[in-house]
């Protein structure tokens, strides 16, 4: 695929569907005219590097698409935190996360109160409020970081890496020798996400309300959670170390692929322990009524299903993101072997 086609696809991915084809057609014609002019001037076809230089002048596909959207909404707190180019993505992610977590919290509260667990309105609202606030803060922080990166390095994006796609490719930085690199932005994101998760885990350990919401008074966690706590923290911490190493050495691609594959396997192992470790929750009351036992059974079934779905998601993500890299690494090794 030509560099220009990749560029146009990258712009098109971030454009509204109704105008996408028309905008891409016009942009394509304008850039091709520019290529032709340059070829006439040089008296020969343009090299890929020369084409890339022209595309860099046109601009980061994410920002160019943002200008076409004619949507000037942004998040400003004293100064601009998230600009118009990223704002639509920010809003989508925010609404999706807030929508899902609010729905889940509401469903849990409704199911528990229906089953006779005593939950106060203020308790339900309070747990929902803190969940929403935490998600808003984390998502805003991540997007503010992306915004800062894009504004600081507007020409640091690379279209010569077919293995990466979407936002991460546009945020990546090009290396003059074309050698594969782990994006430093990606490494920072992994490190920050790991740190946020560890802080959240620590908070949940001390204040289970962050996990069980309004039902915190009713439930007690089973010992299986304590068994997986340390391995879980170690896996997240190892992921942070890998991100830190790849921040310093972005050229250690094979190390990153191997480390992520091992960590994904370890994560699956922990989820397998959780899924096979018996009931995950019990009620605080010593003597349980039939109705309470039914609730407990249902809630444990939900948690079990959640763990299984999480395991499938981790496995799929590992196969999709690491599979091509592992294959490429193996092919590269074979190609280098003497015949």
């Amino acid at each position: 695929m030509e560099l220009l086609d990749r560029y146009l696809i990258a712009v098109g991915q971030n454009l509204p569907k109704p105008q996408r084809d028309d905008i891409i057609r016009e942009l394509s014609e304008n850039i091709r005219s520019q290529f032709e002019d340059k070829e006439v001037e040089l008296g020969r076809p343009l090299s890929e590097v020369e084409q890339e230089a022209i595309l860099k002048q046109v601009g980061n596909p994410l920002l160019v698409a943002g200008r076409y959207r004619q949507d000037d909404r942004s998040l400003t707190l004293g100064r601009r935190i998230i600009g118009p180019a990223l704002f639509p993505f920010y809003i989508k992610v925010l609404w999706f996360n807030l929508g899902v977590s609010s729905l889940l919290t509401t469903l849990v509260v409704l199911a528990l109160s229906q089953a006779g667990v005593r939950i106060t309105v203020s308790g339900a609202i309070s747990s929902l409020f803190w969940t929403v606030l935490a998600q808003f803060a984390v998502i805003t922080l991540i997007f503010a970081g992306v915004e800062k990166h894009v504004s600081r390095f507007p020409d640091r994006w690379d279209l010569r890496k077919p293995q990466e796609s979407g936002l991460s490719r546009l945020l990546d930085h090009a290396e003059p020798d074309g050698a594969p690199r782990i994006s430093r932005f990606q490494s920072i994101s992994h490190f920050v996400a790991g740190a946020v998760f560890l802080v959240w885990l620590r908070v949940v350990t001390h204040s289970p309300m962050w996990m069980f919401g309004a039902a915190v008074g009713a439930f007690r966690i089973e010992p299986v959670w304590h068994h997986i706590y340390i391995p879980f923290v170690l896996v997240v911490f190892a992921g942070m170390i890998q991100a830190a190493i790849n921040f310093i050495r972005p050229d250690w691609v094979r190390f990153a692929v191997l480390a992520r594959a091992v960590l994904s396997l370890a994560g699956l192992g922990i989820l397998a322990l959780l899924a096979t470790g018996g009931p995950l929750l019990t009620l605080r009351d010593a003597v349980l009524t039939q109705a309470q036992l039914r609730v407990l059974h249902t809630v444990n079934e939900w948690f079990f299903l959640y763990v299984i779905m999480l395991a499938i998601a981790v496995a799929c993500a590992a196969i999709l993101t690491l599979g091509p890299s592992v294959l490429r690494t193996l092919r590269g090794e074979r190609a280098r072997q003497p015949r």
């Binding site: 014609e29 304008n30 850039i31 601009g59």
Partner: protein, 111 residues
């Protein structure tokens, strides 16, 4: 870039941004497509990024100041823009405003 240079660059861009629409409208009294328009503006000393100009043309068309049509030109078809009737009127008003600002500024700067 030192802080003062960055500040100057921001102010310069701000100053140019306002005059850009005027330049584009004035240039499109005769029809052109995006790339040639950009070259013509650059030839007159007004460099403008493709990533800024092409979306601007669409915005001005959405506002009814420009009209466009796809037409064959050479080997390929291109989208040509020219001023609409209301675009001509707005250009006339903007030019009058610009002349008034220019005259006031000259007075202030010389004064």
């Amino acid at each position: 870039m030192p802080a003062d240079d960055a500040q100057f660059e921001n102010l310069r861009l701000e100053l140019r941004r306002g005059s850009l629409v005027l330049a584009v409208l004035a240039q499109l009294r005769s029809e052109q497509y995006g790339y040639t328009l950009r070259k013509t503006l650059a030839d007159h000393g007004l460099e403008i990024d493709e990533g800024t100009l092409y979306p601007l043309l669409r915005r001005l068309e959405t506002q009814g100041l420009l009209v466009s049509e796809w037409r064959e030109d050479g080997k390929r078809s291109k989208r040509f823009y020219h001023l609409s009737a209301s675009g001509k009127l707005v250009l006339k008003q903007l030019l009058a405003e610009w002349k008034s600002i220019d005259s006031s500024l000259n007075g202030i700067v010389k004064g």
